[in-house]
């Protein structure tokens, strides 16, 4: 047997694949000291003077991943010519090549690759994927079914120093692969027609967007005027290489990294009264609004719009220094709204993080500055996670899902979470987690019920109730005119 023996090459390929996947194979690789080369032998045979090759020895071959969807789109071009070109991001000094079309963010090094139908192209390009027609679909990830139903197996090579080095090739079918990990809990397309509007893309809001993208939500509208700063990086999903970009763009790309078919619309402006006309259609189009801002004016404006447009909103935020946090879900005119919450629990409503210079400036006087407070991402994420769960349940409203069993557990309007018994708070005297079974402790969610204010100025009959309480006939009031 020589290396040119097709059967031996197939045995080597099978053995290498088994090694790479850390599974037993029918053949194993050995270094044949007599022949001074690597050969594949059937499991159980013991060739003389051979050195067994293990998975650790074999961890040196690169992988190349090509988009199956892209290949189908380009199939007519490939069928009509000897080859087509594709761009790949080269990672880790050639250890992995990822098709540039798979996601929104390529890496720093781009390599051109030639994709050919069996016919070898001369001279050999540096990267080459060859598609060989076969009769049946195999189990391997390198099988491709063309638009005309023809079946191909892909092999890939990197040409170096006059030699072709094989690469393990995967034809990635993105959506089926992504859905496979959700199926049974979230069916494939259950969230594909649902739309989420995100207000504020800080640590919590940013995290929630990405988690919903992983769940299969496909329509996102993102509103935030801020840019990612260096100081954000220890908390925000965006990294240091993204500093300076608008957060809506950073998060859009991260969503597309997790769900390439998502439709993401970005709105880099602030929530303010002068923008209400622009925001209203976004609220109207959403199945749920997720509000992660820490400033009250924007929360109250969103609250007003959501009530007027009858859209469920979930609000999440950390307390100061992220010692804990809260989540409020508002079902318009059914459960207490943000204004009801402010009226019923003013101290809790006012307990927010000061996590950015803008937030600090908003509450500071020039002669009494307010510092940005520390807060760990670790302490914000439980709140963001709960916020996402509530949003997910709202997005699933009316759809049959195994998550319906959670609705009894997520029935309260307001939820409280504590990360630590912070001094200076009502929770400083909590017993240790291990000592308590029914007292309040850290690391537990508490669902808290309170009544909607039927005379609420945002969601209730405030005008009539107040007028009646003061003996005022609203129909007879005339506001004086003034030039």
């Amino acid at each position: 047997m020589t290396m040119n023996d097709p059967q031996q090459q197939q045995m080597i390929r099978d053995a290498m694949k088994a090694i790479a996947e850390r599974r037993p194979g029918r053949t194993k690789l050995v270094y044949d000291k007599t022949k001074k080369t690597i050969v594949a032998v059937a499991e159980g045979s013991e060739p003389p003077r051979a050195l067994n090759i293990t998975a650790d020895d074999a961890d040196m071959f690169g992988v190349i991943t090509l988009s199956g969807q892209w290949l189908r789109q380009e199939w007519h071009r490939l069928n009509g010519s000897a080859s087509i070109a594709a761009r790949f991001t080269s990672w880790d000094n050639g250890d992995a090549y990822t098709h540039y079309e798979l996601g929104p963010q390529g890496g720093p090094t781009i390599s051109e690759c030639t994709i050919a139908l069996e016919r070898a192209s001369e001279p050999a390009p540096r990267l080459r994927i060859v598609l060989t027609k076969v009769n049946a679909v195999g189990r391997a990830g390198n099988t491709f079914v063309a638009t005309d139903g023809s079946i191909f197996v892909a092999t890939a090579y990197e040409h170096q120093d006059g030699r072709d080095i094989p690469l393990d090739v995967t034809i990635a079918e993105v959506q089926p692969a992504l859905s496979a990990r959700r199926a049974g809990i979230l069916e494939t397309s259950v969230l594909s027609d649902r739309s989420a509007l995100f207000i504020g893309l800080g640590t919590g809001g940013g995290y929630a967007t990405i988690e919903l993208a992983k769940c299969g939500v496909r329509r996102f509208a993102l509103v935030d005027p801020d840019r990612l700063s260096v100081g954000n990086v220890v908390r925000h999903p965006g990294g240091i290489s993204q500093v300076g970009r608008l957060k809506v763009h950073v998060i859009r790309d991260l969503i597309l990294e997790k769900n390439p078919d998502a439709q993401v619309d970005v709105y880099p402006f602030a929530i303010a009264a002068e923008n209400m006309d622009a925001i209203r259609p976004l609220v109207r189009a959403a199945n749920v609004v997720i509000c992660g801002t820490d400033n009250r004016p924007s929360k109250l404006l969103i609250n007003q719009l959501c009530i007027e447009e009858n859209v469920v909103a979930v609000y999440g935020g950390a307390f100061r220094r992220a010692y804990g946090g809260q989540v409020l879900r508002v079902q318009p005119r059914v459960s207490p709204c943000q204004q009801c919450f402010v009226s019923a629990m003013p101290e809790q409503a006012a307990d927010v993080e000061i996590s950015s210079p803008d937030e600090a400036e908003a509450i500071a006087y020039s002669d009494r500055p307010v510092a940005v407070e520390p807060g760990l991402s670790l302490d914000v994420l439980p709140i963001a996670n709960f916020l996402t769960k509530l949003a997910l349940l709202e997005l699933l409203d009316g759809k049959p899902t195994s998550l319906d069993v959670l609705r009894r557990d997520y029935s309260a309007p307001w939820y409280l979470w504590l990360n630590r018994p912070e001094s200076g708070t009502p929770y400083s005297g909590m017993p240790p987690l291990s000592d308590s079974s029914d007292e309040m402790t850290i690391n537990r969610w508490y669902g808290v019920g309170f009544e909607r204010d039927t005379a609420c100025p945002a969601c209730g009959d405030f005008l009539n109730v107040t007028a009646a309480a003061h003996g005022i006939d609203l129909d007879s009031v005339v506001i004086p005119s003034k030039v």
């Binding site: 404006l301 204004q339 009226s343 002669d367 945002a458 107040t466 007028a467 005022i472 004086p480 003034k482």
Partner: protein, 154 residues
């Protein structure tokens, strides 16, 4: 621009000012630009008059209205320094001054405001600020010494 709910709310606010005997203040409609304001002259215990002016913002009542002292203008501190020169000042409980130089009274900060607060409560804060201002003039002590940072009231 204005919703019917906002117009009705402003009518209610006007009438509440009268009911609460803040009759020196009124809500006004300015037909030319279809805008609203609330204003009136406040008298201090010492007998001085101050004109308080609240332009009603488009987002009212969800959006916090600003309250200015338009007369006297400029408003001076002891020593003759104009209060508006301090900008946002804790010492004098003042927020960003108006382009015309009017002092903006800090009644509720944005992060404490909500739509359950009435204009007569805002004017009441204005009256308290004026009394504290006159104490500042009399004693030279900061206005903040006479009023607490305003806590949340639901």
């Amino acid at each position: 621009m204005w919703t019917s709910t906002q117009r009705t709310r402003l009518a209610l606010e006007h009438q509440l000012l009268q009911v609460h005997e803040f009759t020196q203040f009124s809500v006004y409609h300015h037909a030319a630009g279809d805008t609203y304001s609330a204003s009136g002259y406040a008298s201090s215990n010492a007998g001085y008059k101050y004109h308080l002016y609240i332009p009603i913002p488009a987002g009212f009542p969800t959006q916090r209205p600003e309250m200015y002292v338009t007369e006297p203008n400029p408003l001076l501190m002891t020593g003759g320094v104009q209060i508006n020169s301090l900008g946002v000042s804790h010492r004098m409980h003042a927020l960003t001054p108006h382009a015309c130089g009017w002092v903006q009274i800090c009644h509720w900060r944005d992060n404490r405001w909500h739509s359950g607060i009435y204009l007569h409560q805002v004017f009441l804060k204005g009256l308290i600020w004026i009394e504290a201002y006159e104490q500042h003039i009399s004693t030279g002590r900061d206005l903040a010494d006479f009023v607490r940072t305003m806590a949340e009231t639901a």
